[in-house]
Symmetry: C2
Subunit: 195 residues, 2 copies
């Protein structure tokens, strides 16, 4: 079964190049993305929400134009292996999740997904073979309506210069930037000019 316009092997190669290795979650995720997309009307301008930061965001980024950097993909960590593709004007869309009720036929997928088999004892070849054979038959798709906060563009704030770090930041964040409010998780240890 193809993953969008790619054969399983082609998608596996793209997954390895982008993600570092062809993770089971990314390969199964490819089928999930396409299962959700297949429900949208042709030509729908859609955005995406993914409910876990693990692997699945990369399936969306590889198969659709929704990315973290263009802000058409949001990660909301609910700990579930699920994604939503939704019409960005109406909020109506489709949620695909990996369905435990459909895993009994696939012991390697179930063992990996539920962490029943330790990583060292997994058989990656048989696991990937099961993912390829199962295709989208292990996911379930539901129609959803996304909350209004996700519909439409966020407004653009004016840009100010932070009086502390001297960098640019959104003026709406206050008199100085969030980094200088103590939210930066690092210490700057010295200066070294670029270029």
């Amino acid at each position: 079964m193809k993953i969008g316009k790619y054969s399983f092997e082609e998608f596996k190669e793209r997954a390895a190049a982008f993600h570092g290795y062809p993770s089971p979650g990314l390969l199964a995720g490819g089928y999930m993305v396409e299962a959700a997309r297949a429900r949208l009307s042709e030509g729908t301008l859609f955005e995406a929400i993914v409910e876990t930061p693990k692997c699945l965001p990369d399936a969306v980024q590889l198969l659709t134009v929704c990315s973290i950097g263009n802000q058409r993909l949001k990660v909301i960590n609910l700990g579930r292996y699920a994604l939503i593709l939704f019409d960005k004007t109406t909020g109506i869309g489709y949620r695909a999740f990996l369905d435990l009720d459909k895993l009994d036929r696939w012991p390697h997928i179930k063992g990996w997904f539920m962490k029943l088999i330790e990583k060292e004892r997994q058989d990656p070849e048989r696991l990937l073979a099961e993912i390829k054979e199962a295709g989208n038959s292990i996911c379930t798709v539901n129609r959803v309506r996304v909350a209004s906060g996700f519909i439409g563009r966020s407004h653009m704030s004016k840009i100010a210069r932070c009086p502390i770090c001297r960098e640019a930041y959104p003026a709406e964040d206050g008199p100085f930037c969030l980094g200088c409010k103590g939210e930066a998780p690092y210490e700057i240890s010295n200066d070294s000019p670029a270029g």
Copy 2:
């Protein structure tokens, strides 16, 4: 000036394919990623933090193996156009930011970055030409030490089945999943089988 192994034009094409269009932030970001990477010793296994969700995460994802889905890229929104690449075992790394003090020679870059020029009145061709010519000369790189919470792998939780939605979730999230605790920003409106 090249962006890693790509010419400016090659990177522009890759940016358009991944991000939907070759945004100025993504192109300038490409030079920033490479300016930070150039400071790391050859062969360093590194991870990334980006301080804005806008455009810059995609520069990291296009030029390094750090991605949202493999969790080697984290977005911590501090509202600043800055990224850090750091050694994942020591937390020592380099932070590149777009430096306002270096923009006076580049009126189109400054106008875009500080939102001094409305989007409709920007001249995209001259803006991109400035970005190409400026290369990494508009960013400054500092050495940083990332907080210990970002070093090393997060542990793997056991997987449980949520008694409400019946989906898999990390057992450490509690007796039921975060989605069923009311954090899901959507309503499920009906079922429709996949496949």
